[in-house]
């Protein structure tokens, strides 16, 4: 082991002597600090802005005057997607998805106003974050530092001297690998700093997430270190080693994720929103119009209800029958809308699975997915937000419908447009709106996020195994 560490020390000494290493360290330091600062600033800004917007929307909602409950169903409410505590480390899909949803009766609106849409072209180039530095830049820096680790020794024939002195090939390769991995460990520091200053909640559990993230990135960087040293051990010239490694980086980091994304789109083509809307319209048509108690779709409801209360007409019921129709109508509509939304989530997850399948060709695909899942900025977190917003919408609308059922008689409800006094009788007190719960998103738990990342974590470990095998294989071919 001492011999191994001596090789490691020699390698680090070489970096210090050559100017290239200083340049690399400078780039690493600069990009890490800038990325961490900018990303933290941006995600804090986003989090603050959305919580302000949410507070404003809540205030406006609570300030509504006495109203007919069904007016409130159409008045609706806005909810904003809170930013994940670890978004500063990996903003993930944050800029690609809408930030607010308008919640109203009878409809399930989409999340609108995605940041990427507002920024345009430049948003497609990515964003400065520790995740970007570690995923994209860091492998390149490892390559620049390590491509000549063994080719250099071969070219100057010092390798043969070392072996002549009884140092085994395995020791040399391992020593160089440790030196390069050490550089990777240094690069992880900003992650730790940002993680420790993150706003945490017990539900989210930032610390275990951070540890898992650190482990994931460490494995990823170790894979690149092993690939770099392995290739350098296998090839004869530094120039060739650099070309091969750069080509590998280009294919793995720049090309494959995009090709994978296109393939996923072609394999599982998404329906357009309009298509979905038309499908919804067709299905809902069968469900009837819940504003109209005479709609034939509610005939069954009427006869069942009349029988249950043993009365002849809806006027004799002890509650406002229009409210009941609204309640049941919303229930049926929501079921249809939810089924379609869930089918769409399924489809998006299928696309994601396909994309992740390409991680056998590129470790960065596995790591990206792993990182987003643990940082709480992945597809499933967005689905979770959409589901939570929908649950909140449904509860809100049904609260209004129950108020319509209980707070007025059918006759009063039907006469509401006759005069101001009649309208007043159907209005519910403004206090009611103030007492309604505000939207609070409980993030996915650590266990849930980790479970979503388990598949790609295995792929990442397979990559570690494969690159370690390459390293072992290369030690045997070192002298040939």
């Amino acid at each position: 082991m001492n011999k191994v560490l001596r090789i490691t020390k020699d390698e680090i000494r070489y970096w210090r002597r050559s100017q290239l290493a200083w340049l690399v360290l400078l780039v690493l330091l600069a990009t890490s600090v800038v990325a961490a600062t900018v990303s933290n600033f941006e995600s804090e800004g986003r989090a603050e802005q959305r919580s302000l917007q949410q507070a404003e929307a809540d205030a406006i909602f609570q300030a509504q005057p006495d109203r007919h409950p069904h007016r409130m169903v159409h008045y609706g409410h806005y909810v904003y997607r809170p930013a994940s505590p670890l978004a500063a480390i990996d903003p993930g899909i944050d800029s690609m998805v809408g930030t607010s949803i308008f919640l109203e009766g009878h409809r399930r609106n989409s999340a609108t106003f995605a940041a990427a849409k507002e920024t345009g072209l430049l948003a497609r180039f990515g964003s400065f974050s520790p995740a970007f530095v570690l995923q994209t830049i860091m492998p390149l820096l490892l390559i620049v530092c390590g491509f000549s680790a063994l080719t250099r020794e071969k070219e100057s024939r010092t390798l043969y001297q070392l072996i002549g002195h009884g140092v085994s090939g395995r020791t040399i390769v391992l020593g160089k690998f440790i030196a390069l991995s050490g550089l990777g460990v240094v690069a992880l520091l900003p992650l730790l700093v940002l993680g420790l200053i993150a706003r945490d909640s017990s539900q989210f559990a930032a610390l275990p997430s951070l540890l898992a993230l650190g482990a994931g990135y460490l494995v990823y960087l170790a894979v690149w270190a092993a690939l770099t040293v392995g290739v350098s051990a296998l090839l004869r010239s530094s120039a060739l080693s650099l070309s091969v490694l750069l080509a590998v980086w280009l294919v793995a980091v720049v090309i494959t994720p995009r090709v994978a994304s296109e393939v996923a789109l072609v394999a599982v083509p998404p329906p357009s929103k309009v298509e979905t809307d038309l499908a919804i319209a067709e299905t809902l048509r069968a469900g009837g119009d819940s504003h109209d108690v005479e709609d034939a779709a509610f005939n069954d409801l009427r006869s069942v209800t009349l029988a249950e209360y043993d009365v002849e007409s809806i006027e004799e019921l002890p509650f406002n029958y229009r409210g009941l129709v609204a309640l049941r109508g919303e229930e049926a509509d929501t079921k249809v809308l939810n089924d379609l939304a869930e089918a769409q989530f399924e489809q998006e997850l299928a696309q994601k699975k396909l994309l992740e399948g390409f991680s056998v060709l590129s470790p960065v695909i596995a790591l990206r997915s792993f990182s987003m899942s643990l940082a709480g900025t992945a597809l499933q977190d967005h689905h979770h937000f959409l589901r939570s917003a929908e649950d909140y919408r449904f509860d809100m609308v049904q609260t209004f419908n129950r108020l319509q059922m209980s707070q007025m008689s059918l006759a009063e409800d039907l006469a509401r447009n006759d005069s101001e006094a009649a309208a007043q009788r159907t209005r519910v007190s403004a206090d009611t709106w103030q007492e309604m719960p505000v939207f609070e998103l409980q993030p996915l738990t650590f266990a849930e996020r980790f479970a979503a990342a388990a598949g790609v974590a295995v792929t990442l470990l397979l990559w570690l195994l494969a690159s370690a095998s390459l390293l072992l294989f290369s030690t045997r071919r070192l002298l040939s």
Binding site: Y78, L250, L265, V274, E420
Partner: protein, 419 residues
């Protein structure tokens, strides 16, 4: 030595360099793949649009058949609007994926409808697209780097440089044919699949030429940059490669991201969510106002209906559509600000493009392919105009209080959307 002779020499030289041929072939296949994917993407969009038009026509006929009053018809009947992909959209998908290409619009307030989006799988959007503009902006420079980084230094390192400079009658005749041949190789490899795609799409010759010239310019820019680095006598091949790749990294990844960060922090501007919120307040607030207030506001901007019968306390469809319109008018300034803030970001993006060829070339391609922000805002304008046609079509029957009949409804003709 004649130029044609030198070119033939260099052609033989290039055709024997397996590495050079391999990279050119890689570029060719990457370009072909991107064009194929782009073509299938626009084909899918066109199919969806055709399907939309057909189903929308059926749905509209059905809804019209069910109508019992004009106001209800205007409420229930949607009209399809779509943003047909241009014949060059296959080369640069641009901002089309995050923006809706199809909408269904009705006579209600437009601000409540226009921001709805298609659901996009965000993880796929995050990975980015593999379209022709990506191949040109990202890959082409790397191919150029590979072909040129050791153009001079390899000759020097193998000791042939002196011999070559002595035997060639002029430096120009020595290097230019070699450079010209390689540049042509890169351009052909990149552009051939694109031209084939353009033929299939029947793209306009002018735009195809413009796009090809843009690609050529981008290629020449990178050739000049790499040759500038490669001609430093102090540098060895490896250092030239490292420096060139460093430039690529800086210009293609770092500068655009830094620019994005700067733009997002400097142009906060109007928030889209704000527009939606204000519009909703205005529309819903009308229920709590005396109806005459809304009607007066509406007649101020639509004086042609001001002599309509006054509305009383009771519900009336004309009041309903008046407050929809007044809601739009209330939010109009904010909506313009929101748009303006997007345009301001775009103007700043143009400055970033001065520092990054990757941004510049993508902007140029998206502009030629009409898939940029401006094209999207143009579509939005068309939708707004179409919305105006729709609502105004119902105003005569609503404000003149024409009694409902199916025959009269059938006379309200709303032309199909033409973008």
């Amino acid at each position: 030595m004649k130029l044609s002779h030198r070119l033939r020499q260099e052609f033989i030289f290039l055709s024997k360099s397996r590495a050079a041929l391999a990279v050119l072939l890689t570029l060719f296949f990457a370009s072909a793949l991107s064009v194929t994917l782009g073509l299938s993407y626009v084909a899918q969009e066109r199919m969806q649009i055709a399907e939309l038009i057909e189903r929308d026509t059926q749905e509209r006929a059905f809804k019209r058949g069910q109508a019992v009053d004009f106001g209800g018809a205007a409420y229930d009947v949607f009209h399809a609007a779509w943003n047909e992909p241009s014949t060059l959209a296959f080369a640069a998908v641009g901002q089309r994926d995050l923006n809706p290409t199809m909408m269904r619009i009705r006579a209600l307030a437009i601000e409540g409808q226009i921001y709805e989006t298609d659901s996009v799988n965000p993880e796929l959007a995050l990975a980015g697209r593999f379209d022709f503009s990506f191949v040109v902006a990202y890959l082409l420079p790397l191919i150029v780097i590979f072909l040129f980084y050791d153009l001079i230094s390899s000759e020097r390192e193998s000791g042939r440089l002196n011999l070559l400079t002595v035997s060639a009658s002029s430096a120009r005749l020595l290097w230019l044919p070699r450079i010209a041949l390689r540049v042509s190789g890169v351009l052909l490899a990149a552009l051939l699949p694109f031209w084939l795609g353009a033929v299939l799409e029947e793209s306009a010759l002018g735009a195809v030429t413009g796009l090809s010239l843009t690609v050529a310019l981008h290629c020449l820019l990178w050739t000049a940059l790499v040759l500038f680095i490669a001609s430093r006598p102090a540098l060895r091949s490896e250092s030239i490669a490292a420096a060139s790749v460093g430039c690529w990294l800086l210009l293609t990844l770092v500068v655009p991201i830094a620019g994005k960060t700067y733009i997002e922090s400097s142009v906060s501007g109007a928030q889209g969510a704000e527009v939606a919120l204000v519009q909703r307040e205005a529309v819903n607030g009308a229920w709590d106002l005396p109806k005459v207030v809304t009607m007066d506001a509406f007649y101020a901007s639509h004086p042609e209906w001001a002599d309509s019968e006054p509305v009383g306390e009771e519900w009336h469809w004309k009041w309903y559509y008046a407050f929809q319109q007044v809601g739009d008018e209330t939010a109009a300034q904010l909506a313009r600000d929101y748009r303006q803030s997007m345009l301001a970001r775009d103007t700043l993006t143009a400055s970033v493009a001065l520092l990054s060829p990757a941004v510049a070339v993508q902007r140029a391609l998206e502009s030629l392919a009409e898939t940029n922000l401006q094209a999207n805002l143009r579509f939005e304008d068309e939708v707004r105009r179409y919305h105006e046609t729709i609502r105004r079509a119902y105003y005569p029957v609503l404000f003149r209080e024409v009694p409902f009949s199916e025959a009269r409804l059938a006379q309200i003709e709303i032309p199909a959307f033409d973008g």
